[in-house]
Every structure is written in structure tokens, then in C-alpha cells.
């Protein structure tokens, strides 16, 4: 059963009571909140998320609560909690959705070590995974949003989850936070994209979340092998270029940017080595979507 099939009342009862138990790729979440605006936003944005059976184990218990501050008695503040611990200071109530999403990311990054967590967007086409690792100026979330509205299946815009034993990648389709100018760019190019409210004033500026397409959510259990690693760089006015990248360089960029490479040590070294050996590694410079999408289509056609 999916969140969208719940009546708004049932949905509210779960969030304000024992917790809304939903699946996020390989993990299960329990979410509690009493904030009316967050409940409304989640009802729309989480519509395709599957509900978790009551007898399954939930790994992450998160909560967004309203907070009062002695210093700012009249401000409406909220706080994110995971297992009753608050990793962030309170923020204005309007930022509840963004804080919840970042909080869940943080909890995953802090706790999960049985998988290798690359800081990378990942999408699937023709049965194989295309990794778009984060590096400064990459705009991975924006490019990822563009791809999933052109029939690529969303794995994640933030985490490349790799099982170091099997080499398989695991989907983790969740909301994707567009930042600042990217919001307008996506609205212009992909009017069909479903965006959440624009949330101004966060640490990363204005944020609006993209809802993952229904198909990506429904197929969240289908893992796939990686085949392409493309390091994107958006550069104003640049003609599109998709160039080979030496494997050694790809290795360093991936390893130094992974969330838990050091924690996994030798396991991670082995996993990244076989990853770059088995993938085509490219560097993509682009300024407009259409030509970038065309280049990526050609790469992933074969």
C-alpha cells in the first residue's frame, strides 16, 4: 500500500501518533510530527512511498517537533530528532520539510556501513546504473532531475549505495532538493515535474523538492550493476563535451568523496577498484540540458 492511498485523516493520525512507517529503498523509516503544514506537504510529496508492514523492522525513527527558545520567545521554531537526539539546532518552522530530508540523509550517512555510500547521484537506463558523482559545481541534483524526467529511473540524487560484496547498486528514491536558480531552470524545462513548496532562507539558500516519479518508487527494490561513471560540470556557455577520464582519477574522486570510504577501509578499496575497472569513466562539461541529455543518451544507448 502507498501513502497516496491513505485518507488525509488516517495519514495525520499516523504522523501524530505511533509514526508513519514508510520504505526508503533498502531502509525503513518511521516519521512523527504534529506540524500541520509538514503533514500537508508530506501527504503530497510522499504519495508514492510504500507503507511498511507493522511487523517489519524500522531502522530510522525520526521526528520533527516544534520548539520554544528562551532567547527567541516569539519565533516559531522546529527541531529534527533521530531516536530523540537532535543533530541540528532549531530552525524556523517553514524549513521543516528540508530539515527532515537532510536529517534522514545525515542519519543514513552516520549509521550505515554495510553498504558503501558514495556521494553521488545514480540513475538507471537499459538495466545499468549511471553514476553522477558530486564534485564542486557539478549540479548533480539538477542533472539527475532532468534525467528522471527523460525516462531514466531514479536511484538517488545523493547516495550511490553499493553492496561491496555483490557490486550491485541499490535504489534509494527520495525527494530531491533543488537549490536556488535550479528551481526555475527545472520548472522551465520540465513543467511536468512535481515540486514542493519553495523554502527560502535555509543554509543552502532557497530549496524546493522534486517528487520522485511513481515508477522509480515502485521499482525501488530492483537493484542494478553500474556501467557508467560521469563526472558532470556545468560551465556557462560551454559546448557539450563528454571526454574519457583516466580510471585512476575516477578512483580518487569517488573514494575521497564517499561518506564511509575510510570506515570500510580495505573493503572500500576493493569495491572502488572493481567499480572503476568495470565502468566507463567520463567527464561531462555542459551548459544546456538538451545537448547534455543527448550526449548521455548516446553513452547509455549501447
Amino acid at each position: 500500500m502507498r501513502v497516496g492511498q491513505l485518507s488525509r485523516d488516517t495519514f495525520r493520525t499516523l504522523l501524530t501518533g505511533s509514526g508513519l512507517r514508510v520504505k526508503a529503498g533498502p531502509f525503513n523509516l518511521s516519521i512523527q510530527t504534529r506540524l500541520p503544514h509538514l503533514i500537508n506537504q508530506l501527504h503530497q510529496m510522499y504519495a508514492h512511498y510504500s507503507l511498511v508492514n507493522d511487523t517489519e523492522i524500522v531502522e530510522f525513527h525520526v521526528r520533527v517537533i516544534s520548539r520554544r527558545s528562551i532567547r527567541r520567545p516569539f519565533a516559531r521554531l522546529i527541531q529534527f530528532e533521530v531516536d530523540s537526539r537532535s543533530p541540528f539546532p532549531p530552525v524556523p518552522a517553514e524549513q521543516a520539510l528540508a530539515t527532515l530530508e537532510w536529517g534522514i540523509n545525515l542519519a543514513i550517512a552516520m549509521r550505515i556501513n554495510h553498504l558503501l555510500l558514495f556521494h553521488s547521484a545514480a540513475v538507471e537506463r537499459n538495466g545499468h546504473v549511471l553514476l553522477l558523482p558530486a564534485w564542486p559545481g557539478s549540479g548533480k541534483t539538477t542533472l539527475c532531475t532532468a534525467l528522471i524526467h527523460r525516462d531514466y529511473r531514479l536511484f538517488s540524487d545523493e547516495f550511490g549505495l553499493m553492496d561491496p560484496q555483490s557490486g550491485e547498486f541499490l535504489p534509494l528514491p527520495r525527494l530531491m532538493p533543488l537549490k536556488n536558480q535550479s528551481i526555475g531552470v527545472i520548472r522551465d524545462h520540465f513543467p511536468e515535474a512535481i515540486l514542493g513548496p519553495e523554502i527560502p532562507g535555509t543554509l543552502k539558500g532557497t530549496v524546493a523538492h522534486v517528487r520522485p516519479p511513481q515508477e522509480s518508487s515502485e521499482r525501488a527494490d530492483e537493484t542494478a550493476k553500474p556501467r557508467w561513471i560521469v563526472f558532470p560540470k556545468w560551465s556557462v556557455g560551454a559546448a557539450v563535451r563528454l571526454e574519457p577520464l583516466p580510471r585512476s582519477e575516477a578512483f580518487l574522486l569517488l573514494a575521497s568523496n564517499a561518506f564511509n570510504y575510510e570506515v570500510l577501509g580495505e573493503t572500500a578499496f576493493g569495491a572502488v577498484t572493481s567499480l572503476v575497472r568495470n565502468c566507463e569513466c567520463r567527464k561531462l562539461v555542459y551548459s544546456d540540458f538538451d545537448s547534455a541529455l543527448k550526449a548521455l543518451d548516446e553513452l547509455t544507448d549501447g
Partner: protein
Amino acid sequence: MVDTRADHHRLLLEAIVQPTSLTGYDNRQWELLLRLARRARLSGYLAAKLEKDGLLDDIPMRAANLLRSSLIQARKQQQSVSWELNRVMWALGEHEIPVIVLKGMAYLLQDLPNAPGRMFADLDLLVPKEDLGQIESSLLKKGWRHHALTSYDEHYYREWSHEIPALVHPERNVEVDVHHTLSSPLGKLKINPLPFREAAVKVNDAGVYVLSPEDMVLHCAVNLFQNNELADDLRHLLDFHEMMLFFSSQQPFFQQKLIERANQLGLGNPLFYSLYFSRLLLRSAIPEDLEKQLDRQPGWFAQRVMHHCVPLALLPQHPDHPSRMAGYARVWLYWRSHWLRMPLYRLLPHLAYKFYLSVFPARAETSKQK
């Protein structure tokens, strides 16, 4: 009533005392247990036990994944702290200052049964007070730095604490805590570090020592019932329990020697409580009346109060239904730990200042030193 009867406490304690019983847990019990174990920082310990018994594949996959994740993290922490010790010994090399390693890293060096999967991020060292200046300047010269401290904190450490402000090498971020004694010099219980240093056991030729078995157990007891605030501190009681079992099985008269050592050093009170609660909560196989041989024992009334309060603080709260009683018990034990560490005329201004900072954290910034 003692809250060991609360279902969630029984669930956690049973898992620790009898890890093989975990294969019979249903998913709901697992979900709660995983949350409690994380709060108590015991998930790495549980994972190590299950792995040793080859049971990690016999439990639900989601539980196994989380436990494996914790174990991987614990191993990484242990590797980092081991390497930090290596670097500290390198930095001190030419001065040949003997260093006694305490707590987590000492358990690891001695391969004690509580070491596998144990989470710890700091390296704790005990050195002679007269060598403190030399050690601090050697480490600072080789790249370690103090965290930015407020002038108040700096003063607190230098004048009233049993350690100097933590040193951290910016490339590795492992905290090195250098102690010159084992509890606050202002505290009611005066501990002379000299007998501890004299009995220390050499680990290797690089000048690394650990406390003798009796002293290691006593230090654990002192930390629990003298230095710490006890909230969510079950893992330290578990250290005590595991070490008691291990050393008792290694040396026939260990328990007798431990009592004698505690009497000699005047550490009856903390050892009394550790023996008592380790038997009460972890069912340690310790003779019923062992602690009755201690010269110093807490009074009848203190024992009753502690009997009710300590389990409520040591054991984690139910994550969805925190108990108010446990909240009160924790506040009281917080006060107790400070009361034991400082005379009232120091304690009240200290707590008032900490409260002030909790309301106005920005004020701490303004007094920050370079």
C-alpha cells in the same frame, strides 16, 4: 520499584547476558532492542558477540545490517585510536616518558572480552604530574592542538580537573586526554595516583603500560560511581562485569586481591556499588557477600536510594515512552556526581555558569581564546 522490570530493560539486559537468546527475538523486539542498544552505545558489542558465535546470519537481515554497520564503525574507531597511540609514542619518543593507557584502548591492548565491538573515540592516558608540561609541549610541537576553549573552561581544566584540556591532531581528529590522576583533585574522594602507577603493567618496549588487573577494575568502578553522571552508562558497568569474570577466571584469588586493593586505596564505596549493580543488573557470578568485606561501604540509606535510582539512569529510557521517574533519578545522579567532584562553593557557581551558557551559547564565543 527498580525499573529492571520494565519490559524494554529486560529486553536489553537479556540480550547482553544471553546473546544466543537473540535468535528467538521477533521483529518488534528487534526494532526496540536496536534502538536501546544504540542509545546505550552497545550495538557494536552485541554485534561482536553474535559474530563470534556465528549467529549474525540467523537474525533478521535488517537487524544484522545495522549491527554489522556498528561493528565496522567500532573497528574503525579502534584502529584510529590504536594509531593515535602509536603517533603519541612517536611524538614522545626521545623523552622516554612511560605512559599508562586507560579505558577503551587499554582493554583493546589487553585483548579483554569487552574490547571487541566496543565503541570509543578517545585515547586516555595517565602520566606523572611532573611530566605533564613536557608531554603537552612535545605534542603541541608535533602538531596536536587544543580545542578552542573558553577562558572559563581553560581555568576549569588547569585548576580543578584531573586532566589537561584535550589534545587533537587536526589530520586525525582523535581526542587525546592526558590525565595526571584518576578523579577530580577537588573531590571528596582523594585518589593518590602513585600506587596505580607503581603497579602498572608493561605492554611493550615502547614505554606503553596499562593498569594492573585489580587497578583497571577499580578505575572502572571509580569512573562509574565517582566521575560519571551514570545516565545511559550501562556499557561501563558491562566493562566492569566482563573484567570481573575474565580476571576471576584467570587468577584464582583475584576477587580477594581486588577487595584488599580497594581497602588499601580507600576505594570501597565505588567498588561496593559496582559489585552490587553488576550482580543486580547483569547477574554477574560474584559471591553474594563479597562487597561486605570492604572497609568502606555506603550507608544503609544511601544504598536504598541508589538501589532505586541507579538502574533508572544506567539503563536507557524507552525511546517512545520516557519515564518521568527515570528523569528525576538522572537529575539527582547528575547532582550527586558533581557534588562528589566539587565542594558546594565551587559547584553552585559552576552549574550556574553552565546553565547560563545553555541559554546563551553565543556568550561563550566572546570569551574564546586563541
